[in-house]
Symmetry: C2
Amino acid sequence: MEVALNLDPLSPIALYRQIYDGLRDGIIGERFEGGTRLPASRAFAASLGVSRITVTECYERLISEGYLETRRGSGTFVCSRLPERDLYASGITAEAPPQLHADVPMRLSRYGEIVNAPIRPPTPPEIIRCDRHGPDVSLFPNKLWARLWARRMQEGAENLLQYTQEYSGNNDLRVAIAQYLRKSRAVVCDPSQVIITSGSQQAIYLTARIFLDPSDYVALETPGYLFAGRIFASQSAKLLPIPVDRHGMQVSQLKKHREKSVKLVYITPSHQYPRGVSLSISRRMELLDWAKDTGTLIFEDDYDSEYRYNERPLPSIQGMVPDAPVLYVGTFSKLLFPTLRLGYLVVPPALHNVFTGAKLLCDFQSSSIDQRILADFMAEGHLEPHVRKMRIIYGNRRALLAESLQKHFGRKVTILGDHAGMHFLADFQINLSEEDAFARALAAGVRVERVYWPAGSSVQRPGHVQFVFAFASLSENNILLATERLAQALLV
Amino acid sequence: MEVALNLDPLSPIALYRQIYDGLRDGIIGERFEGGTRLPASRAFAASLGVSRITVTECYERLISEGYLETRRGSGTFVCSRLPERDLYASGITAEAPPQLHADVPMRLSRYGEIVNAPIRPPTPPEIIRCDRHGPDVSLFPNKLWARLWARRMQEGAENLLQYTQEYSGNNDLRVAIAQYLRKSRAVVCDPSQVIITSGSQQAIYLTARIFLDPSDYVALETPGYLFAGRIFASQSAKLLPIPVDRHGMQVSQLKKHREKSVKLVYITPSHQYPRGVSLSISRRMELLDWAKDTGTLIFEDDYDSEYRYNERPLPSIQGMVPDAPVLYVGTFSKLLFPTLRLGYLVVPPALHNVFTGAKLLCDFQSSSIDQRILADFMAEGHLEPHVRKMRIIYGNRRALLAESLQKHFGRKVTILGDHAGMHFLADFQINLSEEDAFARALAAGVRVERVYWPAGSSVQRPGHVQFVFAFASLSENNILLATERLAQALLV
C-alpha cells in the first residue's frame, strides 16, 4: 500500500504524533481499508524522512490499540475489526439504555452455591424492629467522637491514610483492648495476642476458615446464634447442636460426641444467645478440661457481657486457667455503634501468625482512622462511663419491656434468662404456630426474631412459641407500642 | 448441715440478697465446707421464715455461679472446687505477669495451613520504599474530607451509626460509582450491579470464594499481581500462568488450555501489573469471544486506569460487548487513600445475589460513614479534579524517576510499559542475581519490589534483573536519593 502522509516538520506537534494521527485517522476514515498491508517500517521511515524507531513506535501503539495487527513473517496489516466499531458502550445514550448482562455462566463453587441463598428484603420503616441487635446509637457521644476524629485528621493525618505495617491492627488500640479485657473481663492477655477484625462477624468467619475443613465437626449451642451457624455451614462443616438449659450449654452432651473429633466449640457463656443464661462455673471447668483433653478449641463469643443488671459480672472462660485453648472474641458494635465495624480476637500466641495472615488475605486491614479514634476514645477514658450510662438505660428498657409484656399477656408470657444483655427470649403460651405468630406480629407492625435451631434441632414445646426481643435500641414509646400491637396480634 | 443465717427483715437489702450473700460468704470463708449438703429448700425456707421460691432462686443462682451443685436425687451440695480459687486471672498482678498460652492444638484447616506462612516484618522508616503502591496521601484534601465528615456527623448521624439494610453498599455511593464508570471507563452498568467491598482485595477474595473449588483452574498473567495469586492459591485452586508480552496477556496461550475448563481469568488490561502494558483491542475481543464460548468469567482488575500520561484512555473490557462475562473491579485506595478500605465490583445482574450473600457472611458490611462521605465527595464533584491534579503530579514523578535511573544506569536500564499508572517495571542489565540485587538495594536503604511469577514460572533473562517501582507516593527528594543509592548498590 502507498501511504501518503503530510508531515509538517515545523509544527509544534511531534512527528511521532503526526504519523500516529495520520495513520489512525486514515484507518478510521476507511482511507486505509481493513486487511491492507502497511509498508515495512524501514522503508516507510525513509519515505517520510524520520528515524525508523519513530515509525516502529507508531506501529506498536496502533497494534496495541487494535488498529493494526501483525502476521508473523508477512508484515503489518490494518485490522478489519476496528476498536471504535466494537465498543458497545460507546453507542449507549440516555435514549438507548444499556442492555444488561442477562445470561452469564453460574459455575459457582460449593461455597458460592451455599451463600447464594435468598437475602431478606429490607423491613419498611413503619415496622417496629425488635430484631435489631444494635445499641441505641442516638445516645452515642457522636460530638465527642467527631472531636477526636477532627483532631487526628488535622495533626498527622498522613499516617492514618497510608497503608499501615501494623498488620494485626493499630498497636495503641490493641494495648487499650488488652488493658480493658484484663480489668473488666479477667482475660489473660498481652496486646500481642489481640487481632483487630471488622466486627465479631469477621472474627467468626476467619476462625471458621482457619480451622474447619469440609465435614469437620463444630459444636454450637442450640438454640443459638444464626450467623455463627451460617458461617460454619458455609464452610461445609458439620454442625453439632448441643442443647442449652438454665445453666448454659449442656457440656455433658458435648462430651458424648468424643468419637466425632470436634474441632471447635462456639459458645456464648456470659449471656447465652438467645436464651440469656450464663454458663455455670462448674460447666466452664468441665468444658475447659474436656477441650484440653481432646485438643478442641473453644470460641468464646463474649458479645454483650458488659451489660448485667444487678447481677454479678462473670469473668471470661479464657482467663480461668493457664493455657486455656480459647479464642476470646468481643465487639464494639454493641458498646459503641455497629457501623464502626471493629471487633477483636484474643488468640493464643501460637495462633497469632495464622490469624494475621488470614486477615491480610481477606481485606488487608480494617480502617486505620477508626482504629486510631477508638484507641483515643479508650485511652482518654470515655468507654467505661459510656457503658455505665448505657447499662442503666438498657436495664430500664429491659424492665419496661418485660413489665409491658406481662401487663398484656399476664401468665401467658415468661421472660427467660438472666437480668443481662441487650435482648431476652420470651415464651408465649399461645395456640399458634411460630410461623403464624411471626406473620401476625409483622402484619400488626412488629418484627420479632425467630429462634435459630442449628441443624433443625428445634425443641419448642407444643402450645408455646418463643421469640427474641432486642430491646436496647427501642425507645420507651416503641416498647409500649410494640407490646400493645403484639397483644392484639397474638391473643386471639 | 445446720445453716444459720442472720436475716434482718427491716434492712433495705432484700431478703433474697441477704440469703444469697450469707450463703456465698459462708462458702468462700469455708464456714460451709466443700461437699457438705444444704438443707432442702422447703425446710430451709420454713426455718428462715421466707417463701420457698426465694430459697430456690438463691440455690439456682449459686449453682450457676459454681458455689453449689446438685446431685440427682440426693440434694444440693457445696462445691469442692470453688470459682474464686479456680480463677487463674484473679491471681495475676503486675509482679506476676500472666503465663501465656504456650501450647495449643494447631489443628488448622487446609486453608489455615496455607495462610500460616511467615508474615513480612515491617520495613524500618529510614528505608525508602519503592514498593508501596498507595497514592501520595499528603496531597489528599483531608480538610475537605473532614468538613464533609463533620457535616454528616452533625445532621442525622443516627442513620450512619446503625446497621444498614443496604446490603450491597450505600445506594447513593453505588449510583455515583455507576455514573463515574459509565462516563470515564465506558463500563455498561446500572447502580444495582455495583457491590461495595473493603478494597479491591476483598473483591478478589470474594470472587475466589464464590467461584473456585479446590483444584479448579484460574488463569492469571505472568508476571502478575502477588495478592491475586496468593488468594487464588489459598483456595487450593490451580494457577495457570499466562505469559505477557508488549500487548498484554497472550490470549492465544490461554486458549491452548481449553480442556482444563478454566473458571476464571484474572487480568489487568488497562495497565498490566507489573509490566505496565495495555491489552490490545484485538486481544480484548479474542478474550471476550473465548470467555463467552467456554463459559469462563473474566475478572477485570482496573486498579489504576485513571492515570495515563499523554496516552489515550482505554475503555474497559466490560463495556465492549453486550453481556460481557466480566466482573469489573476498581478501588479508591489508589484514587483517594488506601485506609479508606473501599472498592467495588460491577457484576452481571445474575451474580448480584451471591456476591451480596458472600459479603454479608464475611463482615456484614463496610463502614457506612466512609461510604456516605465518599458518596458526598463524588456527588459534589471532588473526585475528578483530585484525579486530574494527581495525574500531573504522578506523571512528573514517573518522568523524574525514569530520567534519574537513566542518568545513573545509562543504557543498562530500560523502563518498560506505557506512560501510565502508579508504578513501572525497570530492567537492569547487571550481573547480579535478583536475590543479591534486592538485598544490596535494601542494605543501601531502598526497598524495591520483586516481580511475582505465579506458580514459579519465572522467565527472567540471564544478565538482567527486573524490579517494580511504585513512584506515586515518592517525593522528588526520595526519587533522587533512591536512584543514587541504587546506583551505588547495583553498579558494581
